[in-house]
């Protein structure tokens, strides 16, 4: 039974239960919806559970270096842009989580299972929503194409993964604590991965799919290219770019790869950049602390 079928069945069951008891008890849609959400998490298969738990540890590792900004409106704005772009992907049903990290570095990160982070430093250098959609599209693509997941699996080996799998399944969907040994092992691998970087080919693939996702979401697909031009114009000795440059091909090389797509992208060329909404929702929030 697929997740969707299961949820439909659960919804139908919830509806019947509700109508049967509506006369006596207040009908609480919120409870049913939250119940269905839990079911959705609980019925995901062992592979996806493993992906989620590996991602949870990888994300925890990144959040050990920088915390999410406390501005809820800004987080909600970035979250909505991100989810809208992710909904155009092959994995719209993942539990997508987006956050702006309170840090001056210029960077963005993805972790398995649907975690996407962008730093305040990068957000402060963007000009419009299409550029943000392009950046998030690149990170979403890493998740969709399972780049970090495959790299972590390569590092981890089978024994660890079977431990993780059985442990994760035992936890079901609970937010149970992670065994310290597992946390340390996977976190160390995540650190290696995030400081060494993925294969160049993975970065180029994420650029390509990211641009397409932003275009499919209705944005000007050239947003990511505009961001890469901005990065290309910066002094590469700028310390805030250090980690990005250590882990990614040069912006000029990424632009050269994306140029091959230009004929396809021109079909999307008239789509909006939504600069006013970006300026109103994000610019002030990130430049205030610049």
């Amino acid at each position: 039974m697929s997740i969707r079928t299961f949820i439909c069945a659960a919804l139908a069951g919830g509806g019947l239960l509700a109508s049967a008891t509506a006369a006596a008890i207040d009908f609480d849609l919120g409870k049913i919806v939250s119940g269905v959400k839990q079911l959705k998490t609980a019925v995901i298969g062992p592979d996806q559970q493993e992906e989620h738990e590996l991602g949870r540890i990888a994300a925890a590792t990144l959040l050990g270096a920088a915390k999410p900004m406390s501005n809820r409106e800004l987080q909600a704005y970035v979250g909505k842009v991100g989810l809208w772009v992710a909904l155009q992907s092959e994995r719209p049903d993942l539990p997508w989580r987006f956050a702006v990290l309170d840090d001056n570095s210029i960077n963005a990160f993805a972790a398995p299972g649907g975690y996407v982070f962008v730093t305040r430093g990068l957000l402060a250098r963007l000009h419009n929503e299409a550029e943000l959609a392009g950046v998030l599209g690149h990170e979403i693509s890493h998740v969709v194409l399972k780049h970090h997941l495959k790299a972590l699996r390569r590092e981890a080996g089978t024994q660890l993964l079977s431990d993780l799998g059985s442990d994760a399944l035992a936890q079901k969907a609970g937010r149970a604590s992670i065994p310290p040994e597992l946390l340390n092992t996977v976190s160390a691998q995540a650190k290696t991965l995030y400081t060494r970087g993925l294969d160049k080919s993975d970065e180029y693939a994420a650029d390509q799919l990211g641009v397409q996702l932003a275009g499919h979401a209705g944005y000007d697909p050239y947003g990511l290219l505009a961001v890469l031009q901005t990065l290309d114009s910066m002094d590469s000795n700028d310390g805030s770019l250090a980690l990005l440059y250590q882990t990614h091909p040069r912006p000029a090389d990424r632009l050269a790869q994306l140029d091959k797509l230009s004929e396809q992208l021109d079909a999307f060329g008239q789509q909006p950049t939504l600069e006013p909404r970006f300026v109103a929702s994000a610019s002030a929030a990130v430049t205030a602390k610049k």
Binding site: A65, G82, S105, N107, G121, G215, N237, G239, R277
Partner: protein
């Protein structure tokens, strides 16, 4: 005269934000953002231009007294020869990281020394965006998903 003044005023906001750009490879200045638009003049590599705006894969630029369009890929935002970075195995490397961590943000060292923060990850669950909210948010701005979305294929 009035008409000329009107057109001049129309460009004011654009001129106010114009930023410099440089032609990376010799290209043509065209009278529209299309590959088959009329060529106004040929621009040599390294020619400086003022960027007036962008539409899709084309920049609108001012070259001397003439305005036109050039391909995005034919233009860079920095002068030729400026920086370029030190290369290490094909990757650009930022060599001088003398500034303090607060100014430059976290890098390799801070990440390697980071203590995983599991509660911070689990706290993200509280701020999850509902699919309906994301769809409404897109609708408010008139964003329309392309019919071939969700397949991850080429547009």
């Amino acid at each position: 005269m009035i008409r000329k003044l009107f057109w001049a005023l129309l460009w004011l906001p654009l001129l106010a934000v114009a930023e410099p750009g440089y032609i990376s490879d010799a290209t043509d200045l065209r009278d529209g953002p299309y590959a088959d638009a009329k060529t106004l003049q040929s621009l040599p590599a390294a020619a400086p231009v003022e960027i007036l705006g962008r539409q899709g894969g084309w920049y609108q630029v001012q070259v001397g007294q003439q305005q036109g369009w050039v391909r995005m890929s034919s233009l860079r935002l920095r002068a030729p020869g400026a920086k370029a970075g030190v290369l290490d195995g094909g990757r650009a490397v930022a060599t001088q990281t003398v500034a303090t961590t607060g100014v430059r943000g976290f890098g390799k060292g801070e990440l390697q020394n980071a203590t995983p923060d599991v509660p911070a990850v689990d706290a993200l669950e509280a701020a999850v965006v509902a699919e309906a909210d994301a769809r409404a948010f897109a609708g408010q701005a008139g964003l329309q998903a392309r019919p071939d979305s969700g397949k991850g294929g080429s547009p």
